[in-house]
Symmetry: C2
Subunit: 388 residues, 2 copies
C-alpha cells in the first residue's frame, strides 16, 4: 500500500554524450564566484577538468579550487571545504566527480552558513538543513550513488570510527547535474562494477521492506532488470554506450527518492557496509557486495513472499512445482552468479577485514528497523563472520 507522502524533485538533468555544453545554460543563473570541487585529479588526466574550466571562463566566472576530495570524504575535509567556501564567498559550488565529490559538495553547501559544528548538527543529531544553503551543480564522472539528484550526503569520521549519511530535503538537491555516460568510460573495471552494486543495493534496500503491493516495488523491479542486463554488457565492452547510459540513468532513479515513495525501506546493508568503510576505507560498493548475500540469506525466511517475487520478477526463476523457499533461494543464487560474473568482491577479507576486527565492526554498525528482521548485535556479528 502506498502511504501518505509528498514528492518533489527539482533537479534539472542534462543527459547524454556532449551534455557538458549545458553548463552554458546553467552557469549564467548564478553569481560570479564558483568553488570548483573535485577528487584526486583524474579529471585533470582525462581532460574533463579543462573542459569545465573553459566553460566557467567562457561564462565569466571567477574560479576557486577545492580538490583532493577523497573517496570517503572526511569530517576534516568538510571543515576545510567550509573554510574555502567562506573565504572565497562562493556563489555556486560546482562538483566534478563521483558520488563522494557530490556528497561532499552538498555537505559544504549546508555547512557554510551553519554557526556550529556541522558534523554534530547534521550527522550526529540528524537535524535538517534550516540555514541558507549554497547552490550546488554536479558534473558526474562516476555512477552509483545517485547523489546527482538527491539530498543525501555521507561523511566519515575516522577518529570516531563512524561513516554516516544524512538525507536532506529538496532544498539541498543539486540545482542541476550533467550526466555524460562517456565520462565513465575511463573508470577502472573495479570501480565501475562497484558502482553497479551500489546501485543494486540502493534498489534492494528500498525493495526488501514492507509486505504491501505497491507501484514503487514494480518500478524497482524494472530498474533492477535493466541494471543486471546493462552491467553484464558494460563489463564485456566498457565503451558500450547503451549499457553505460542505462547504468547511469538507473543509478539516478535508484536513489532520487522515487522508489521509496509511500513505503518503508531497510538500509541495513548500507549500515553494515559503512561500518566496514569506517574501519578499512574500502571501496563503498564492494563493502556492500561482500555483506549482501550473508545478510539477505539471513533475513530471507522473515520476508519469504518478497524474496519469491524478487526471484521471479528480477531473475526469471520458474516457480512451477517448487516451494516458496526453493524459489527464493534460486533467486539469491542467480544474484550470486551475476555478482561473481561481473567481478564483485564476495568476501570482506579481500577488503582488509580480519576476525579480530569483528567486535569493532559490530560496534560501528547502526541498526535499522525497516527490514524484515531487526538485527541483534549477535546477528550482526554472525553476518560479518560469514562475510569474511
Amino acid at each position: 500500500m502506498l502511504g501518505k507522502f509528498s514528492y518533489c524533485n527539482p533537479t534539472r538533468l542534462y543527459f547524454g554524450e556532449g551534455a557538458l555544453s549545458a553548463l552554458a545554460l546553467e552557469l549564467p543563473k548564478y553569481g560570479k564566484r564558483v568553488l570548483l570541487v573535485y577528487g584526486g585529479g583524474s579529471i585533470k588526466r582525462n581532460g574533463i577538468y579543462d573542459q569545465v574550466v573553459a566553460s566557467l571562463k567562457a561564462c565569466g566566472k571567477e574560479v576557486f579550487e577545492d580538490g583532493g576530495v577523497m573517496p570517503n570524504p572526511t569530517v576534516e575535509k568538510l571543515y576545510e571545504g567550509v573554510r574555502r567556501a567562506r573565504d572565497c564567498q562562493a556563489d555556486l559550488i560546482l562538483a566534478v566527480g563521483g558520488g563522494s565529490v557530490c556528497d561532499y559538495a552538498k555537505a559544504v553547501s549546508i555547512s557554510v552558513f551553519c554557526d556550529e559544528d556541522p558534523w554534530e548538527k547534521y550527522f550526529i543529531r540528524f537535524e535538517d538543513a534550516v540555514q541558507k544553503t549554497l547552490p550546488v551543480g554536479c558534473v558526474l564522472t562516476m555512477v552509483g550513488t545517485g547523489s546527482e539528484m538527491n539530498g543525501g550526503s555521507v561523511i566519515t569520521n575516522h577518529a570516531q570510527k563512524l561513516k554516516i549519511g544524512h538525507v536532506f530535503g529538496d532544498r539541498v538537491f543539486p540545482k542541476f547535474s550533467v550526466l555524460d555516460p562517456t565520462f565513465t568510460y575511463s573508470l577502472p573495471k573495479h570501480q565501475m562494477v562497484s558502482g553497479c552494486f551500489d546501485i543494486m543495493s540502493h534498489i534492494m534496500e528500498q525493495y526488501f521492506s514492507g509486505e504491501d503491493d505497491n507501484t514503487s516495488d514494480y518500478i524497482a523491479e524494472g530498474l533492477m532488470r535493466s541494471l543486471v542486463h546493462s552491467s553484464v554488457a558494460a563489463v564485456a565492452d566498457p565503451h558500450d554506450y547503451e549499457a553505460r547510459s542505462n547504468i547511469m540513468w538507473t543509478a539516478t532513479w535508484a536513489l532520487n527518492t522515487l522508489i521509496a515513495m509511500g513505503k518503508t525501506t531497510d538500509w541495513e546493508v548500507h549500515m553494515l557496509g559503512q561500518a566496514i568503510g569506517a574501519h578499512t576505507d574500502a571501496t563503498h560498493g564492494m563493502t556492500l557486495s561482500a555483506v549482501s548475500l550473508p545478510y539477505y540469506r539471513h533475513i530471507m525466511s522473515y520476508g519469504l513472499p518478497k524474496f519469491k517475487r524478487f526471484a521471479i520478477a528480477v531473475w526469471g526463476v520458474d516457480a512451477a512445482g517448487k516451494s516458496d523457499r526453493q524459489v527464493a533461494e534460486e533467486g539469491l543464487a542467480a544474484m550470486e552468479r551475476w555478482m561473481k560474473s561481473i567481478g564483485l568482491v564476495m568476501h570482506t577479507s579481500e577488503l582488509g577485514v580480519s576476525e579480530d576486527m569483528l567486535d569493532g565492526l559490530v560496534e560501528s554498525t547502526l541498526v535499522m528497523d525497516g527490514g524484515y528482521k531487526v538485527l541483534t548485535k549477535d546477528e550482526i556479528r554472525e553476518i560479518f563472520r560469514q562475510s569474511l
Copy 2:
C-alpha cells in the same frame, strides 16, 4: 539506447488520504485572487468542492468560479475561461477535477497573456508557450491522464472536427497537485476502467517504439504490471485503497515525461482515439481501448521483438518452445482477456461509430511517425473498420 535529453519535473505532489490539507501549505505562496476551475458539478455532490472552498477562504483568498468544464474541453470553453481569468485578474488557477479540468486549466494558463488566438497558436501551429503563464494547482478527482504532473493539454474543436493535444515545457507544469486516492472512490466503474486504459495506453505508446535496450522501457514494464494487477483489484472492490493508490501513482508516472526519456514514442493510438472523440464525444479511455487491439495486431509483425518482450515481461507468457510470433500473439491475447475482464469497450460501434463515419474518421486522424509502422490512410481505414 538512451538518447540525449534534459529532464526536469518541478511539480510538487501531495499524495494520500487527507492530502488536501496541503492546500494550507501551498495557497499562501500565491496572490489573493484564485480562479476555481471544475467540471460538471460532481465535486459539489461529493463534498470536495466545500472542502476546497473552505481551504481557500481559510487562506484569505478571493474566489472566482469557472465551472462546467466538459470531458473534452472545447475551444469555445477555452475562450470563455481566458475571459474569466482576465476579468478577475487571477493570481492562481486551481483545477479541481480529472484530466480534462487540469488540461483546460493549463490551456487557460498559457492563453491569458496570449494576444492572438490560442487555438491557432498552440494547437494548430504547435508553438511553445513563450508568454507569461498563470500558475496552476490541481486537486485530482479522477485518474488517467497524468495531467497533474505534466505540461500536456488537449482541446477539442468540434467545428473543425479536431481534438488536438500539445505538450508544453515545464513552465506550464502544475506548481502543485493534490492526489487523494479516496477522491476516486465515487467514480462510476465505467469512468474508472476508462481511466485505467488511458494509463495503459500512455505507457504502451511510449513503450512500443524503438528497438534499443533502455531503462525507460524497463520502468514502463514495471508500471504496466502494477496497473494490470491493481485495476483488477479495484474493479473487484472500488474502495480498495491499495489498488486505488497504485492506479493513481501509476497514472502520474505513466505520463510525466519519465518513461519517454531518451527514446522515441509512437502516440498513434491516441490519434485514432482522438479522431473518434472529435466525432462522437465518447469517453477518451474507451476510444483508446476500442482501437488498440486492431492497431497493435496490425503493427505487431513490424516490431516483433518488442511484442515478444511485452508478452514475457508484462504478461508472464512462457516462451519455451514457441515461435516469437506465437509468444507475441499470446501477449496480446492476455491483454485482451484483461481488457474484457475489467469491462472495457472493445468495439467503436458501442461508442456511436458507424460504417458511414469511417471516411470522416480517417480524415481527422493525424499520422505519427514513431511507431513500428507509419500508417497509410488505407491502413487507418482498415483499423477503424476492424474496430467497429
